[in-house]
Symmetry: D2
């Protein structure tokens, strides 16, 4: 940690601070400039309250030197982590496509979509059973019944299943789910994260709507601190002033997360844009900048033949996209 | 709901959509312009999927006409709601000042702060027992023991106590707490909100870091839909590009929330700015634009005499602020 | 335009508004719902003050139906515009790579970089002569001398030159420049845009740091209204809360701008990220989602051999990237 | 400046950097931690390229220690600057209210509004003659004729006049204007700022829509570096994700700018919110947190009697607000 003192601080006040820091087992290197004095703190600053020091009236600002995230930090684990989901491997050069409907609606629906996306090359099935909805008056998902339908679709296709948990009270229901998704709204539900740290199952952790990359990685730390190191990160759009798409897909997060962390990073172009016609170009872009995979909404509902579903692809659109992604992957991998 | 069709839509496609809307018990009024056709939907659109219609290839855009929030909407409840906390009343012209330390640390600390803030005129005591922290390696609060210490401070001073819940698993511990706070990170923890809808206790609901006012009010609906209508809203700063303060205090939310909803609105200048020296001016500003109260961090820790606490006022600063607020209130109320 | 009236508006007040609208040559279609009344305005609303109507106390909200941008709107010009720069064509399936140093520094530098980027396949040369700098104490560019050096580099390589104008007072100096760049800070310098509308030369118009797509397209309208329809749009990152990159590259703007407008869209990954190591992945992503080209910073300064330049590629890195882009283009075009 | 090196940097590479820094007349203090090495640079770093150093592959990050703004910095000028506008003084405890219509429309209008706002206690008259409009198809102001009408209103009332310049080509027309306003869109029109640095007239400098406080102060430096130190800063709302108001009024900028700079700071609640009904509460809040004044839109147009003007107060509303502000000022000043 580096502490920058304001100009004109008295030696007495400076020494008072240095003594206080020394008392916390920190060595202090002093670097005096023309106007400012810089203190370099050496020792374990993991428990030093940076905000507290920054608030001292003799302090101009404080800069953290070491990253606060440890277990997911690539500095201490240079190789890519590869997460196993049954026989499937996520990260480390593998490309994972998770596809399926927004919500599980019926056995016919989920099995039909599962078969379709498998035929097109998807490697996992997604589908919401517990749905976090902005309005209490909206459909909240089939819940436990939805989980059962997902298992049926798995039995029919062999695709591992990914679905979202919204409350730690439901955790026992997820025992036979292959990958548990933590949604954007739950990224800082720390009690849930702690609990997920104690199970032995891959977690798909979505970036919060206004989370920095550091905050996303600190949420990983909550899970990893409990012992569960099987995490797949997911960029799914952030909230900005821009209003043409539902969120703003932050694709530079993909190479940046790869630099900061050894964990795999996938991208959700469906939720990021909220518009099915943008899913193809954004899926291509995500793949081109090095994403380890995609999570894409695909629906197959004859009752809704009239329309596209705001952000879902039809199976034939998904099939066409998969062919393009395949060609693209060959160029990106080279 | 208003649906705007793209130019050049065929009569056949238009009628197909109108038939589909009629089948959902919606009447359709057609208004044909030079280029665009506008459909006004009449009937109960609460369950009509706006995103789905917006995604149709013949549709340019959709506009919701009625507010999606009902129970907290001032249109259907023109008078201010007044929330009772014991003998205390929040909203409806009453001014509430909730003060106390960021975290409950010890009996000495919480009782001393409670006595100090009461002497200065605070009407409720705050203090964190369960602390949501970005890092799993940081202090997570005294938990159940912290709640007991708050009750001790209440017994000593008579001040009602406000403290944050972070997991619905802890809800039984909050039975004897006066006001349960839902923090910014939990504003869309819908399972927690549903549970809080079934108890009979005032809820202090903080705006999420990147929540729109509509989203905040929809979170109220989750609580109110369960039957609990005792909600106090809290503006506590939003995340923007601006980097001089921790968050950007959005004070125009105060009169805007008063226009949209009948619920009381208080302001948290401590968390919004993260800087103790900005608490006074922002507390004054919040009061001047009509807030129903404030929640302010005050600490009293001789071990930290060296510093202010990044965002906490010292008791003497709080006391001075309370005198100024008192004078200001007389002008604002007039 | 659609006007939504508040619930409970009296017939008298409603008729007063309708009469006022009729007086402005607007027909009004009334659609009465259970709570709200919707007025559909038919006629030329281009000069109707939407904000004024929205502010009426009987009005809930107003929605614009037709796009305010006309000349750049794809609805009225379905085919891609192709902009000619000498023999070169931008847009309509052509891929344009503009490369060169941030600033023109010397003849040796600009000629060397020009030769290098041409050898790698760049189709235009960029280089700043007039530099808009946040600080008045920073280097402001070689100005007129820099323009002359760009012309020398053009003479040596045959590459058309692109450079930024910062003031309409300089416009005569740009007579022999091939493409005039309007920087992000000038996107709403309307007096400059008007002037550029009266010349006959391609304009590279960069999106402002916090501009919506609509605002970017309205700035096009300023140029096009004057008669100059040769505009190349450029996405170069927007300002958000996210702090790992200098700006947030908004790549979904690429397909969205293609949907809204017939003008070509290129991407600047160098300024968007501010980090040279992110230029390659973001250039690949931009190409994969359909950009018509790229503008990339490349430097070649032996004095700075120590480092990369914060956002500039070295010629050999650019060369390697161009090979990958070439392979990628074949997949995207198919 | 403080340079933090990555873990594991070789002594050779480190010395190479130190030699390079020494060659730029900078002394380097080394502080070695367990993982990171921190270099404190001592000397004149005003021309050291921070981005360049940050981009070196051995560098983790760089932190600027001293503020880049000098002339407007309170550290070097602890007392409030007081700007004289004729007999009027702005800043230093004086409270300035600038009022008037959005646009100058006619002699009758501007004189009537000027008389009305003077009667209510306004100390300066505002009115747009050159209007920066998002659309080229909207009214662009009366231009030179508008300036003449403002002078007429000044002659009738004695109120100094404030109006916006949009192009340095118009600067001669502003010779007899009392205060020249630089709008939000022009805050980084550096060529205009330089020109305004060479005249001797107060400048009202509005914060750009997405400008940081540092960027606003660097724009001051452009004007002050030319010799003109008469600047009034203006907070007028920033662009955020929040959509209930046109912009988000960032009131904590007021005390923060007072801390960073000695220049007066006024607030524009009309443009910030875009809603006339929010002008009163936000004007009160701005005053309560220490603003040196306000700039408020007031209209008086019998043709528009139907409505309020989206963000303008009627004269009687302004009069009522002025009485409340007067009472509030007594409490704030104390």
């Amino acid at each position: 940690m580096v502490v920058i003192l304001k100009p004109g601080v008295t030696t007495e006040k400076r020494n008072q601070l240095i003594n206080w820091l020394n008392a916390q087992n920190l060595q202090v290197h002093i670097s005096e400039g023309a106007q400012y004095t810089v203190l370099g703190l050496v020792g374990d600053t993991a428990h030093t309250d940076m905000d507290l020091i920054a608030s001292l009236d003799i302090v101009d600002s404080v800069k953290q030197v070491s990253d606060p995230f440890k277990r997911c930090n690539r500095k201490f684990h240079p190789d890519d982590s590869v997460i196993s989901v049954g026989d499937l491997q996520v990260g480390g050069g593998n490309f994972t496509v998770i596809a399926g409907p927004c919500s599980v609606e019926s056995e016919e629906q989920i099995v039909a979509v599962a078969k379709a996306v498998k035929a097109s090359g998807a490697t996992m099935l997604r589908g919401g059973a517990f749905k976090p909805r902005t309005s209490p008056y909206d459909f909240q998902g089939l819940k436990a019944d939805g989980l059962e339908l997902l298992k049926t679709a798995r039995a029919e296709t062999g695709l591992p299943i990914v679905t979202e948990i919204v409350s730690l009270a439901d955790i026992d229901l997820f025992e036979d789910i292959d990958v548990i998704q933590v949604g954007a709204r739950s990224m800082q539900n720390f009690e849930l994260l702690k609990e997920l740290g104690h199970i032995s199952k891959p977690i798909l952790l979505k970036r919060g709507l206004s989370a920095t990359l550091k905050e996303l990685l600190m949420s990983c730390e909550y899970i990893m601190a409990g012992g569960n190191e099987q995490i797949i990160l997911c960029e799914r759009g952030i909230r900005t002033y821009s209003d043409y798409t539902r969120n703003t897909l932050d694709l530079s997060a993909v190479p940046m997360l790869h630099e900061l962390s050894h964990l795999p990073v996938i991208v959700d172009p469906s939720h990021a844009t909220g518009l099915s016609r943008l899913v193809r170009p954004m899926a291509m872009a995500a793949t081109a900048c090095g994403a380890d995979g995609l999570i894409i909404e695909v629906h197959n509902d004859p009752l809704h033949a009239l329309c596209d579903g705001a952000q879902s692809l039809r199976p034939e659109e998904f099939d066409s996209l998969m062919k393009d992604l395949d060609a693209l992957r060959k160029v990106v991998l080279k």
